[in-house]
Amino acid sequence: MDTMDCTQARNLLSEYQDGTLAAAAAAALAVHLRGCGECAGCADSLFAVRELLRVLPPDPAPPELLARVLAAVESEDRDPRASSAPGGADATRPFLSRFRIPLEAAAAVLLFASVYWYRQTPAPPARPPSAPAAQAPETTPSVDISTEASASAAKVSPSGIRLPRGNPKTAGEEPPAVAKPRTWTAADLPSVPAIRASTDSGRIVPIAPFFGPTADPAGSGAPAFDERQSAEAGGGADFRLSRSFVAPPSRLLRPLPYGRDIVLDVKPESREGAEERIAEAALRSGGIFERIERDSESARKGAAGTIRVILPEAAAAGFLDELRRIGNMPQEGLPSAIDIPAGPRPGTIAYAVRIRVR
């Protein structure tokens, strides 16, 4: 006797075909199916669907998948800091991988100590006799590390002019004409982003220019006093990179390519906010970015916008991974190698990410 209605019966079909239905329910369903042609047809077609799915063959993977995977693995293999792999290539150097973070910390401490030591080194004895003001202590205006100097309310420029701390520009002093010793600050270290920029309320906040220093044909390598002061004062617009770390004059004489071009295809519905996502990816990677306004020429070529980024070399692979999450990078737009020394400083990499709506 059929004790089931069609709705009940159809809800149990999957379990019935799996063989996981309780015996009593299975028997009642079988009775219903024998008497109900509609439900029996439904059961047949459901079974057919499951059979079709079971034998659905896999699509062959495109040939580029293997190449991309191997390239990505090789890239991580070359850059162990970007990999968290406990095995694989890291298995061949387990000892070092165990001490990765302590080694980096030790390197940072060593670097700091080197800068500190350099700062404490007495000035060279050779001095022009005609510059008595240079007898002042050889502390540089941009860095004030020593306790003694910290206790002072003012600091002394190389020329002996006392400058108020924290706001050197208000001193109204002209940069001295004499050559100053080369000094380094934390902002000069290539692995530390010089300027942090952020997105604010959906808009990208403009940042200081990447290539602040103008070409210096003389190539003296000594940063100008006002440049150092403005950088220390935190004035983003006045920021200048130390010339010690920019590309050599031979490169500055020709237009800088802003690193490797990357074409990033984004879907129309994902276009909104693509720049912001790229900028955030750059910041997460410890880099800096600059938004290039769309001009008529790039619009003609289909580029919807360009973001220039400069990253620490070690973060390039991670940044490219983040870009792949934002959009698709066609093969022709994907750098085959990421270790291109195209950044403006040693240890950095520059990319120009051109957004294309596809």
Binding site: L13, S45, V49, A72, A89, E269, N328
Partner: protein
């Protein structure tokens, strides 16, 4: 094709070779599983480039974590678990998700309503008959793409890849009963999509 649940000897050998640092072992693993992983990603994401990216992420993640792979499940099962998570994350990120989703198909009031192709005739309405005359893979892939992603991956893992309900429940962190009911609804939806008058 090696099904999940068993410990395929060749795969185990490849994993061992990889752990020993033998050159070419990882490439062999990718070659052995790339079709399956890519297919799963392509059917989940319905986008070739997205699927390529996701499959690449899966193998990269595998490369990073293979040393910790304990072999409790087959390597293919492990890879597909990673793939499922990656694909679901990607789907969540898509802003146009609602546009891509089709509502759950209701039982058609009229023949052909809600179907992805026109009914061909009495006998030909059966899905197996239709599959004989049409491109099977395309039809099924299209039907799968009409499912909501939360059910699609369950159908792919269960009916295409052969995962057990328990494995899927563990992966989805839901009770087995929920997996069964979702799967049943998804299968019935595919049946309706494929056979308008069934």
């Amino acid at each position: 094709m090696q099904r999940p649940g068993g410990k395929g000897q060749p795969v185990d050998l490849l994993v061992e070779a990889f752990r020993k640092g033998e050159p070419g072992a990882f490439e062999a693993i990718v070659r052995a599983h790339q079709d399956r992983v890519y297919s799963f990603c392509a059917r989940m994401l319905s986008d070739r480039e997205d699927a390529l990216d996701a499959a690449q992420e899966v193998f990269l993640s595998a490369w990073r974590n293979l040393a910790g792979f304990r072999g409790e499940a087959a390597l293919s099962t492990w890879l597909l678990r990673i793939a499922a998570n990656r694909c679901l994350n990607r789907i969540r990120r898509r802003k146009s998700l609602s546009e891509r989703e089709a509502p759950w198909p209701e039982p058609p009031g009229e023949a052909g309503e809600g179907s992805i192709f026109q009914p061909a005739g009495d006998e030909a309405d059966r899905p197996d008959r239709l599959a004989e005359t049409c491109e099977l893979g395309e039809i099924l892939t299209e039907a799968l793409s009409r499912l909501d992603p939360g059910s699609r991956w369950m159908v792919l893992l269960s009916d295409v890849e052969g995962f057990s309900y328990e494995e899927i429940a563990t992966l989805a962190d839901v009770p087995v009963g929920t997996v069964k009911s979702r799967l049943h609804r998804a299968r019935m939806a595919i049946r309706r999509l494929l056979s308008p008058v069934a």
